[in-house]
Amino acid sequence: MTTLDSSKEIKKNDSEVSEHHEDFRMFGLITFLIADGMTFAGFFAAYLTYKAVNPLPDGAIYELELPIPTLNTILLLVSSATFHKAGKALLKNKNSDTQKWLIVTALLGITFLICQLFEYFNLPFGLTDNLFASTFYALTGFHGLHVTLGTLMILIISWQTRPKEGRITNQNMFPLEAVELYWHFVDGIWVILFIILYLL
């Protein structure tokens, strides 16, 4: 209870507090994303090693259909742009525009996830079929988890940017900037994943 009370206390004085020192929350987030990126790096390294040294059993399929992942790449790249638009609108103090762009971004994220699930259901292999299948699901699944988390966060901040009552304004942009950075990061990882998993 005490900590809850005190967090309110701090929130009230937010603008006052930030005058005392530089805001280093973004710095902390970047450090976290580097750590997160290293998890993906580990997965990619494992995948590439498997590809180089572990032959698949006869008849295993490792050529993937490209249309859905290509669509997904476009969806995510467009969603990065719409998120950027949302940030621009907030700078101009147009909260309702920001909210609209954020909801568009979230919808793009949801569409991505639906396409991903559609792809999963139409693949000719399952999680435990062979090494390639397992690695494929682990990599895309872990990325999908990131997209799910990001979409939820976008929905939350779009609620928080509602005009007048919302706590995200152009005086307090950090939550929006943080989720935006995270979203760009997830997009970037997808591009690498798309190249390594589908194109190589």
């Binding site: 005490t2 900590t3 009370d5 005190s6 967090s7 206390e9 701090i10 929130k11 004085n13 937010d14 006052e16 507090v17 930030s18 005392h20 020192h21 530089e22 805001d23 280093f24 929350r25 710095f27 902390g28 450090t31 976290f32 580097i34 750590a35 997160d36 990126g37 290293m38 998890t39 993906f40 790096a41 580990g42 997965f43 390294a45 494992a46 090693t49 498997y50 040294v53 572990n54 698949l56 059993p57 999680l127 435990t128 062979n130 090494l131 397992s134 690695t135 682990a138 872990f142």
Partner: protein
């Protein structure tokens, strides 16, 4: 919203419980969190030490008569995991880092106090979970390395709890690392330059970089391993076409840097302690900084020297041997600097100093066997023998744990305002030093003669040397008694230490002991020369 480094925070703290109760609360005060880490870590040290004693009792005779073989495997797994993930890493990083770093950078708290508290409170539940797994179909049996296929074929529940627990501890470690990097880089008092920071800050910066870059890889690996166990995928299962060597690469990509995560902070702490007790400036500050960063960079590219018997190709062996041997250079620079710091100094022989000197002796020994182990032909000969056990314990016990004790003796007056008994402290050092060397020095011989590690039974010809080693372990167990008596007696009726009993110049001593809630009354002092001993006071 985690900003709380200004006067408003005094409200936060006034709402927190006072007295000893605050150590059981979700406190945001970095000093409270530091002590939480230390005490929690020490309790796990006692558990891990009990397990170690059980191992040495078992090994006092060649047959497995003290406990069944599978229990022995569980005991050695829990001993390794607890000592590394619940004692050394949290204490040498979390405890001293949280307590000291905000003082050293002239701040009132860490950069992200709430994240800090979360990082600590992940530790007790995951530790208890790990210990409790013994009572659920038995704990993990695959050693702290959890190599598949062993970790896939041994009973699953224990292994899965082990994975969960290590994932949580890894998360705690990453949160801590992010916090230290942000605090050291971003929260320095205005006017304080990076090259004026006490050496422990540099050590923690390097360590935190290693934590942030390598721990996530371990997390990913363990997630894949748990898939292998639960969903029967074949990432690391050769039967299903998987590749065990990939696990080893990913595991050691974290676990070799983990050795530096355990040792670099100790390097930093000893660099704080030696100048104070020898009244001389730290020798070679700049070279110290560069050698820490050199160790960080090299530490990330030497992992495969753990895998010389895993069918590594010749080019890989060559590269990793050379890279490993290179680490001796920055490490050697640091040791020469410490010896040069002591040289001609006005040395006070007290418990903190004795443990630090014990560290230098033990670590040089462990370092030399380390260079030897980097050489492929020698490594293949002693791989998975007691030689490796001896080398490792010379590094982490003779090195890091000695420094943890040294630091406790050095900073106890800071935390409590009381002095510790020097007589008990010197007794503690004597028993620990003799016991430690008696326990682990003979194991070099055992390993060279081919006694394998991690096996409950051995060839009867090794019995005598094993019994010497077990007597050493008994002494190490006894050595905690004078230490604990010392701690409790000193807290209860130790002499007042005053604010700065060692006349130290580093910033944490420039406030009262114990320090006020926000560290300083008024502005934080600007300490441009944390090691300016032997100069006339201006």
């Amino acid at each position: 919203m985690t900003i709380s480094i200004d006067s408003k925070d005094s409200n936060t703290n006034s709402l927190q419980p006072k007295g000893w109760l605050r150590y059981f609360s979700f406190s945001l005060d970095h000093k409270v969190i530091g002590i939480q880490y230390l005490v929690c870590g020490f309790l796990f040290y006692l558990i891990g030490g009990t397990l170690a004693s059980a191992i040495r009792i078992e090994l006092a005779s060649p047959m497995s008569d003290f406990m069944p073989r599978d229990v022995y495997n569980q005991v050695l797994t829990l001993h390794g995991t607890i000592m590394i993930f619940l004692w050394i890493v949290p204490v040498v990083n979390g405890a001293f880092g949280n307590y000291l770093i905000p003082f050293y950078v002239g701040a009132r708290d860490m950069a992200f106090p709430r994240l800090n508290a979360v990082a600590f409170w992940l530790i007790p539940p995951s530790g208890l979970m790990l210990v409790a797994s013994y009572f659920v179909e038995g704990a993990a049996q695959a050693g702290w390395t959890a190599y598949p296929p062993l970790s896939i074929t041994t009973p699953q529940s224990g292994q899965l709890i082990w994975i969960m627990s290590v994932l949580l501890l890894g998360g705690s470690s990453i949160f801590g690392g992010i916090n230290f990097i942000a605090t050291i880089i971003k929260l320095r008092r205005p006017g304080l330059k990076l090259m004026q920071l006490p050496m422990y800050c540099w050590a923690m910066l390097g360590t935190s970089l290693l934590v942030v870059l390598s721990t996530p890889v371990l997390a990913g690996t363990l997630i894949l391993l748990s898939f292998d166990i639960v969903a029967h995928t074949g990432f690391f299962n050769p039967v299903l076409g998987g590749n065990v060597v990939v696990y080893q690469h990913l595991f050691w990509f974290y676990s070799h840097p983990a050795v530096y995560i355990m040792v670099l902070p100790a390097f930093g702490l000893v660099s704080e302690i030696l100048p104070v007790h020898s009244r001389k400036p730290l020798f070679g500050y700049t070279t110290m900084v560069f050698s820490i960063m050199g160790i960080v960079v090299l530490g990330l590219v030497v992992w495969a020297h753990h895998m010389f018997t895993s069918g590594t190709p010749p080019w890989m062996r060559l590269f990793f041997t050379i890279a490993t041997a290179f680490i001796a250079v920055p490490t050697g620079i640091k040791f020469f600097n410490w010896v040069a710091t002591l040289w001609g100094g006005k040395i006070s022989i007290n418990s903190a100093m004795l443990f630090s000197c014990g560290f230098i002796i033990n670590f040089v020994f462990g370092g030399i066997t380390g260079v030897a182990l980097a050489q492929v032909p020698f490594d293949i000969h002693v791989h998975d023998t007691y030689f490796v056990v001896a080398h490792f314990h010379y590094i982490v016990y003779g090195g890091t744990v000695f420094i943890i004790f040294s630091s406790i003796y050095h900073w106890f007056p800071k935390v409590t305002g009381k002095l510790m008994s020097e007589k008990l402290g010197i007794l503690h050092f004597a028993i620990t030093f003799i016991g430690f060397n008696l326990c682990f020095a003979p194991q070099h011989w055992l390993g060279l003669n081919g006694m394998p590690r991690r096996v409950a039974e051995y060839d009867p010809q090794f019995q005598f040397v094993n019994q010497i080693s077990s007597i050493g372990a008994l002494l190490m167990a006894i050595s905690t008694i004078p230490f604990l008596i010392n701690i409790f007696l000193s807290i209860k009726n130790g002499n007042d230490s005053g604010d700065n009993p060692w006349n130290a110049l580093t910033p944490e001593w420039l406030t009262s002991s114990p320090p006020p809630v926000e560290n300083w009354v008024g502005e934080a002092p600007l300490v441009e020369e944390p090691y300016g001993y032997g100069k006339p006071k201006s």
